[in-house]
């Protein structure tokens, strides 16, 4: 077996080895059991005191959502203002300009909602101040928001009948102090020792061996790159993201970065099982997600590793799909990253997705369309929960039993919410794509700063894929892109901004509401007639529901994009 495939398998094994104990740890942190980081207790008490938070005050699901939306609103205003006036603020050694209002709108939302779609390039579009005070800050707090939201789900099913679901600010604070910050510090130091810049020096000017004068962008990048992965954020310090040799200097750092983005989403699934004392359910969910991951991973690995057919037509023997990829990482590690970064909503990249093979492109989009195989920080499990509720309902109807989940009846109200959430994601993506395709087809010469005809870097079906990918990535809060698209203009900044913010908060509120409503209901003890949700059969059922909803909703759009391109190129 070649060293590239071995590297990928090794990476996945190490991820599992770290994620499992981490899940145990997270469960203990939220349960308030003794853990290794308890020396932080006084620090957290100090935070609660100065911020006027009563950590013992338990919230119901509505209060949770009110607190979550309030603090997110504060961050949105803060981020928008800083980005608008960044050139007047300190820490701008490269003299980068202010953002335009539409770009600041897009960027503030993008990082607030853990999406990290970037319509600017890190080297020239933001200052060091913005990179730290807006980008890095939001990467921490948006990840912690997702975890705090999923913690409500944990609490809702841990007890029998309850309205008390813990305190949002406590979940949020502990996620940062106990999970994200310690892990980020370790990872940032690993990166710094492998060659990623971490100092505050600006661009360096050098004369190369061959005599060219060039500049090299630097800056305090290591810390940001650590949380960018641990928080499943994905926004890069440099324009080329983790394909950049300073952002991802070697194969070892590549493993560290791809492991870092997967461990917490995985750990949260195990943590769920431990927390509600139903480990088996945790394992079944993990199993379904892993099968889902493989459903996308295997075709991607095959399509990337069998190379670029066009090079073969030109008469080359070596047809490795190296366009947009880096030699030190290789094709297999790039393909592995493409799938992981799209299923778990990180959206960082180590190869250019726009230049990947058509089937890989389709798999990347499917990963974001399903958006629940491991999934983003906290929100992956919330999305999965929606499909799980739908599967409970359908299975209940099939076997003629009252749909029940964890001893609570699933009734009309919960089902309505679940159905709306499940359809909302395709709605946002397809309406957005239809709108942009309309302008591109019927008003290509529209008098905008960038005319619709000039949006595309690639013609025909691939151009359509660029639009479809952009909205899929926005709605899934992923943040990667088919970056050839000319997206820094009012049309794309505003429409994707709106899609991103809707695609974030509605899929958080929906599942949390269902969990809150179910938690309040009378607990019915399990009997012989209860539908078992922690069995392999039910796992297969959930997988089928996910695939049917995603495939049926998106298959026509995928046919126009990557699938058509596949048939033209092979």
């Amino acid at each position: 077996m070649n060293s590239e495939i071995l590297g990928v398998i090794l990476t996945f094994i190490v991820t599992l080895v770290i994620a499992f104990p981490l899940g145990k740890y997270i469960s203990k942190v939220f349960q308030g059991e003794r853990v290794i980081t308890d020396f932080l207790n006084p620090v957290e008490r100090f935070i609660y005191r100065i911020c006027g938070i009563d950590p013992h005050k338990e919230m119901n699901w509505k209060q949770h959502m009110a607190a979550l939306l309030s603090i997110n609103f504060v961050w949105l205003i803060y981020a928008f203002v800083v980005l608008l006036f960044q050139s007047h603020l300190p820490l701008n050694p490269d003299g980068n300009p202010d953002m335009t209002p539409d770009l600041a709108f897009n960027t503030a939302i993008s990082f607030l909602v853990n999406c990290n779609l970037q319509h600017y390039s890190g080297e020239s579009g933001v200052t060091y101040f913005s990179q730290l005070f807006v980008i890095t800050f939001l990467q921490f707090v948006s990840a912690a928001t997702g975890v705090a939201a999923v913690a409500v789900l944990f609490r809702a099913f841990a007890e029998k009948t309850t309205e008390k679901l813990g305190n949002f600010f406590v979940f949020f604070t502990k996620t940062i102090t106990r999970i994200l910050l310690p892990l980020s510090i370790i990872m940032a130091i690993i990166l710094a020792f492998n060659g990623t810049p971490a100092s505050f020096d600006g661009k360096d000017s050098i004369v190369t061996v061959q005599g060219d004068s060039v500049q090299v962008s630097r800056g305090p990048a290591a810390g940001m790159i650590a949380i960018k992965h641990l928080g499943t954020n994905g926004g890069g310090w440099y324009g080329a993201n983790s394909a950049h040799p300073l952002e991802n200097p070697n194969y070892f750092t590549n493993m560290v970065e791809i492991i870092a983005q997967v461990i917490l989403p995985m750990a949260l699934i195990f943590a769920f099982g431990f927390f509600i004392r139903r480990r088996k359910l945790g394992y079944i969910i993990f199993g379904v997600m892993t099968v889902g991951m493989l459903t996308l991973m295997i075709p991607t690995l095959i399509s990337e590793m069998s190379g670029n057919p066009v090079l073969g037509h030109m008469g080359l023997k070596d047809i490795s799909a190296m366009e947009g990829k880096e030699v030190r990482l290789g094709v297999a590690a790039s393909a592995y990253w493409q799938v992981m970064t799209t299923i778990i909503s990180t959206g960082s990249i180590n190869s250019m997705h726009d230049s990947s093979m058509p089937i890989s492109g389709a798999m990347q989009m499917l990963g974001m369309m399903t958006n629940c195989f491991y999934g983003g920080k906290g929100v992956g499990l919330l999305n999965y929960f929606i499909f799980l509720i739908i599967a409970v309902f359908i299975s209940g109807l099939m076997v003629g039993r009252t749909p029940e989940f964890m001893g609570r009846k699933v009734e009309a109200r919960e089902m309505k919410i679940a159905a709306i959430i499940a359809l909302f994601h395709p709605f946002l993506i397809l309406v957005g794509t239809a709108l942009s395709a309309y302008f591109a087809a019927h008003h290509p010469q529209m008098a905008w700063s960038v005319q619709p005809s000039a949006w595309f870097n690639n013609p025909s079906n691939h151009g359509f894929s660029e639009m479809l990918y952009e909205y899929t990535s926005s709605s899934a809060n992923n943040g990667s892109g088919f970056e050839g698209l000319a997206d820094n203009n009012i049309f794309w900044n505003i429409t994707t901004g709106v899609v991103m913010i809707l695609g974030r908060f509605i899929p958080i509120i929906g599942p949390v509401a269902i969990a809150g409503i179910l938690a309040k209901k009378k607990y019915i003890p399990e009997s012989a007639g209860t539908l078992q949700t922690d069995t392999a059969t039910f796992g297969i059922m959930t997988y089928a529901v996910i695939m049917i909803i995603a495939a049926l909703a998106f298959f026509p759009a995928l046919t126009l994009g990557p699938i058509a391109e596949y048939f033209q190129s092979y």
Binding site: F133, V209, N250, Y251, L316, M322, G324, S460
Partner: protein
């Protein structure tokens, strides 16, 4: 909502202090002990900085090992790939031109032996490496121009090959900048 706004603002200010000030400062301080002091690892020749170890640079002259095509012309003030899809006719034309150029500069090399990475642009536009095969195929040209023996150059390349991680994970590679600096010192 109103009762959550004040705690939210206070918590935000505190977290900004921790996450945007203390955290990056800590990492910057620790990185001072790392190679390159956290400013990126430089490569010097005769006490002059000629580049960064991890950042590729443009080598177009025939007497050097040429790196991969770059969408940003190896200027690390920015970064990025071509973002071209394989079905794009313009892109296919570009690749064909690169193949022809390579054949003109490397007489005696058959078209089918050209490694794909030499006619495709990297993701960052700053790829510092080549695979061993892509370096070795240039040996014939460089040997002729520099009047060196091919075996000597092949030894030079194999001395610069970095093995996969732990010998098992990932591809083998050659750092083009270091290779070319060593090449300049070869007699």
């Amino acid at each position: 909502m109103k009762k959550y706004i004040w705690p939210s603002i206070k918590l935000t200010l505190f977290m900004v202090l921790v996450l945007a000030v203390l955290y990056p400062s800590l990492i910057a301080a620790v990185s001072k002990t790392a190679p390159g002091q956290g400013k990126g690892r430089t490569v010097t020749v005769n006490n002059k900085v000629v580049g960064y170890e991890n950042v590729g640079q443009n080598f177009t002259e025939d007497k050097y090992f040429n790196g991969r095509p770059s969408a940003v012309n190896y200027n690390a003030a920015g970064s990025g790939g071509s973002n071209k899809g394989l079905s794009n006719p313009d892109y296919q034309k570009t690749v064909l031109e690169r193949i022809d150029t390579f054949l003109v500069h490397n007489p005696g090399i058959k078209k089918e032996d050209i490694p794909a990475e030499l006619v495709t642009a990297s993701g960052s536009g700053l790829d510092p490496d080549l695979s061993p095969a892509a370096a070795l195929i240039q040996v014939k040209r460089i040997a002729a121009i520099r009047h060196l023996s091919e075996t000597k150059l092949m030894t030079l390349v194999s001395d610069h090959i970095k093995r996969p991680l732990l010998g098992v994970a990932g591809p083998a590679k050659v750092n083009v900048l270091k290779l070319n600096i060593a090449l300049d010192t070869l007699k």
